[in-house]
């Protein structure tokens, strides 16, 4: 299996010619090179890694496409391989890589209101505190999910909270 680095500017052209040759895309994943050797010399930090297969000749290849600019940007290839629609959304969600020309580039795994991109190397496990806001029991602002039938004075954010102190007090 060979590995090749492709510049973002040539990516769409390259993708189209590969598709014409019969290459099928199997995977597209983001990669943050921040902690890898030689990251300082390179002028880009983010790239996507594509796994492709050609079934007729039983051949596989792996392509790295570099993301340039701020925010890191790569042209979208959703018109070439339909598979990229979900995969590019995941790379955007996890790494904040923007895909130019992707219709409906939005978060796919994380909640829409999430800030930050979790798989980035400077977004460490335990390094960023996450505020768990008390969620309302029912999302009343969403059409179709009304508080219909619920007493309006229900303390929604108190649901499910365990208060051991109260419990102890009762026992005493």
């Amino acid at each position: 299996m060979s590995i090749e680095v492709v510049d973002a500017r040539q990516w769409v052209e390259r993708a189209e010619s590969m598709r014409a040759e019969g290459w099928m895309m199997l995977d597209l994943a983001g990669l943050d090179r921040l902690g890898l050797d030689g990251a300082a010399e390179r002028d880009h930090r983010f790239e996507i890694v594509c796994q492709l297969v050609r079934r007729d000749v039983k051949q596989r290849t792996s392509l790295h496409v570099t993301a340039e600019g701020d925010p890191p940007t790569i042209p979208s290839v959703t018109h070439v391989w339909g598979l990229a629609a979900f995969a590019e959304r995941e790379a955007f969600d996890m790494y904040g890589i923007h895909f130019e020309g992707h219709e409906g580039l939005s978060r796919i795994l994380m909640p829409d209101e999430w800030s930050g991109h979790p798989l980035r190397k400077d977004y460490g496990v335990g390094k960023i505190t996450i505020d768990f806001k008390p969620q309302p029991f029912l999302q009343t602002d969403t059409p179709g999910q009304s508080t219909h039938g619920l007493a309006s004075d229900v303390e929604l954010d108190a649901l499910g909270q365990i208060k051991p102190a109260d419990d102890e007090a009762r026992h005493e």
Binding site: L26, D27, L36, V49, R55, L83, L109, P118, V125, P143
Partner: protein, 419 residues
């Protein structure tokens, strides 16, 4: 009318519809062309997990279907980066929870590529044995839930009854029924226990008859055929475009199975056929899976027959903790054990991708190492994630009832989709 005003008006219509008793799932309703946007899931008995669908309906016809995922996202790829190479297996195995051995297998093969090590023949055969049994358990769940969704409830019980038989064998070998963490870089964690041959013989004795029984239950069942023939169509070109693999692609006439076409482990020593269908509908997928179960049983028999003797894992002391007997005698063995447990082993810098043929298609692990004792990046190409993209293609223009059949035939595992 501004967007907000429109939204408020829509909201009012929805409220009115609910008050009139039209159900609480309506997201929006356009009275002019009677189009409705309906929310299905994330908690719904027919979505096989926390899959949410937004459906645009014209009466009973699905105009557009949009899968919304992420409800089971727990950041497993990120968690892997916090583990050492050995213990990341325990996280990877939890992704596609109905086929845990395949996750472990793909990951272990990728790490072995980086380490450039060999797995002893017995280790390879144990891996294949567990994988093929796991394929049967996974297809049995699909078979059972598909039947249930099509109104054949007894099929569900039969599917899970036979699954239990094999899951008991997993428990006997690995100690766990699911999420085994059994296949590790270098081989498998434990040798097969005493009496495994009898247990396999028991499975091989019971299963072929049961498979015939299933065929009698569903394959000729007029209601089942009526609900699955010509439903959820997808062509080979669409499969190629969306990266759909596995039984769905094989039911559309794509003759591609990694076990045969890019053999890994010792699959080239075994004789098996790749079931193929051309109709590309739900029934064809059902037939492919049923035939695959039969093939997997054949493979299990061959593997059990050919099981070689010898080491079941790579015995390199830098990689594998020494056996307990040796640690009682040798100081060096104790040191190796301590180092491996506390620090793990380093893996040379580089990257590797290795795929296996899982019950749902190509399951690949892409790992990157920076030379340290933890994965720098561990990505799993989960077939469910990409296969799910075929759902809008299959359901557009069909009926809502057919949508249920299509979801069941895609067999998405949300643990793998969301990772």
């Amino acid at each position: 009318m501004s967007k907000t005003e429109k939204r408020i008006e829509e909201h009012d219509i929805v409220r009115r519809l609910e008050d009139e008793g039209h159900g609480a799932y309506v997201e929006s309703y356009d009275p002019e062309d009677e189009r409705m946007i309906i929310n299905m899931g994330p908690v719904h008995p027919a979505t096989h997990g926390v899959l949410r669908l937004l459906l645009e309906l014209d009466g009973e016809t699905v105009i557009e279907c949009k899968p919304i995922i992420g409800y089971l996202h727990t950041g497993m790829e990120k968690e892997c980066e916090d583990q050492n190479w050995r213990s990341a297996v325990t996280i990877v195995t939890r992704m596609d929870y109905l086929s845990p051995f395949f996750n472990e297998h793909a990951y272990s093969m990728a790490v072995e590529k980086l380490l450039d090590i060999e797995v002893p023949p017995r280790g390879r055969y144990i891996r294949m044995l567990m994988s093929e049994l796991c394929r049967i358990t996974s297809h049995l769940v699909q078979f059972g839930t598909q039947g249930l969704d099509m109104g054949a409830m007894s099929v569900m019980f039969y599917g899970f009854r036979e699954r239990e038989l094999i899951v008991d064998f997993f428990e006997m070998v690995t100690g766990l029924r699911m999420n085994h963490g059994f296949i590790v870089p270098g081989g498998v964690w434990e040798d097969l226990p005493d009496g495994w041959e009898e247990a396999i013989d028991g499975i091989l004795e019971v299963m072929p008859g049961r498979l015939r029984e299933y065929q009698d239950l569903l394959s000729e069942n007029p209601i089942f055929i009526e609900r699955t023939r010509g439903v959820g169509l997808i062509t080979a070109e669409q499969c190629d475009d969306l990266g759909v693999t596995g039984p769905i692609a094989r039911a559309s006439g794509i003759d591609w199975d990694l076990r045969r076409d890019e053999p890994y482990e010792a699959y080239e020593d075994l004789a098996f056929e790749v079931p193929l269908q051309h109709q590309g509908d739900v029934y064809a997928r059902y037939q492919v899976r049923m035939a695959e179960m039969g093939q997997s049983l054949d493979l299990v028999a061959q593997i059990a027959d050919k099981m070689p003797e010898g080491d079941y894992k790579n015995m390199d002391p830098k990689l594998t903790p020494p056996p307990r007997s040796e640690m009682n005698r040798s100081m060096e063995a104790v040191i190796h054990h301590f180092k491996l447990v506390t620090q793990g082993y380093p893996v040379p810098p580089g990257e590797a991708y290795s795929p296996v043929e899982s019950p749902r298609g190509e399951l690949g692990a892409y790992v990157v190492s920076d030379g340290g004792a933890a994965p720098y990046r561990c990505h799993v190409r989960d077939p469910s994630f990409y296969n799910l993209q075929s759902l809008p293609v299959m359901t557009r223009g069909g009926l809502v009832a057919d949508l249920i059949a299509s979801i069941a035939s895609i067999d998405p595992i949300m643990g793998g989709v969301d990772r």
